[in-house]
């Protein structure tokens, strides 16, 4: 299965610290996407990174992709209470026609 697997499953950090979440997958991909979900709400798209890209930034978010290791990381810098949410990676296989989501990392920012 190409399903991404996030690590860690849960993470608690102090406000202001950086948060790093990782995603590993098994098959070659077309692109990898990160989404955020606040409790009881829908998912919000954060970043899409293509297989030929190594790094992308969006505000306080930085995503890296290492296709040789089949892994990606999401870094949130200077975390805020509002960043408390679940974060999902979603992979699109190079031969597939659909997005497959991992089970997510629950991030809790402590005041």
């Amino acid at each position: 299965s190409q399903q991404g697997e996030e690590d860690p499953q849960a993470l608690s950090i102090q406000e202001g610290e950086n948060a790093t979440m990782n995603c590993s997958y098994k098959t070659s991909i077309n692109n990898l996407q990160w989404y955020r979900q606040n409790s009881g709400r829908g998912l919000v798209h954060l970043i899409l990174i293509r297989s030929n890209e190594r790094e992308k930034h969006s505000g306080r978010l930085r995503v890296t992709l290492d296709t040789s290791k089949k892994s990606s990381s999401l870094l949130i810098t200077a975390s805020r209470a509002a960043d408390t949410a679940s974060y999902f990676c979603a992979t699109v296989g190079s031969r597939d026609d659909k997005i497959i989501f991992g089970k997510g990392t629950r991030l809790h920012i402590l005041p």
């Binding site: 077309n30 996407q33 829908g42 998912l43 798209h45 899409l48 999902f88 659909k98 991992g102 089970k103």
Partner: protein
Amino acid sequence: DVKVTQSSRYLVKRTGEKVFLECVQDMDHENMFWYRQDPGLGLRLIYFSYDVKMKEKGDIPEGYSVSREKKERFSLILESASTNQTSMYLCASSLTGLTGELFFGEGSRLTVL
């Protein structure tokens, strides 16, 4: 901004009832999706549609059907609700095919008693 609206945030139904979950998007997207989300299982694709009146089964279509009569509206139907269909249901739409960025609604939490 793209807006995907799910008609009901919370529903409580009885076993055997017919359930309609409605989803409307306002950005003229070709592609629409229905997922269910369960603790420990993540998001699983039920059905998707890439055009009006077109539908494709996802990974877990059993017990569900869909309807797409208009481009902006994609409905999920539970013909006879069962307790194992208690879940969070998420609708999404996409402009760039089946593999691009998804725009999600707020979700519909269904409880079947």
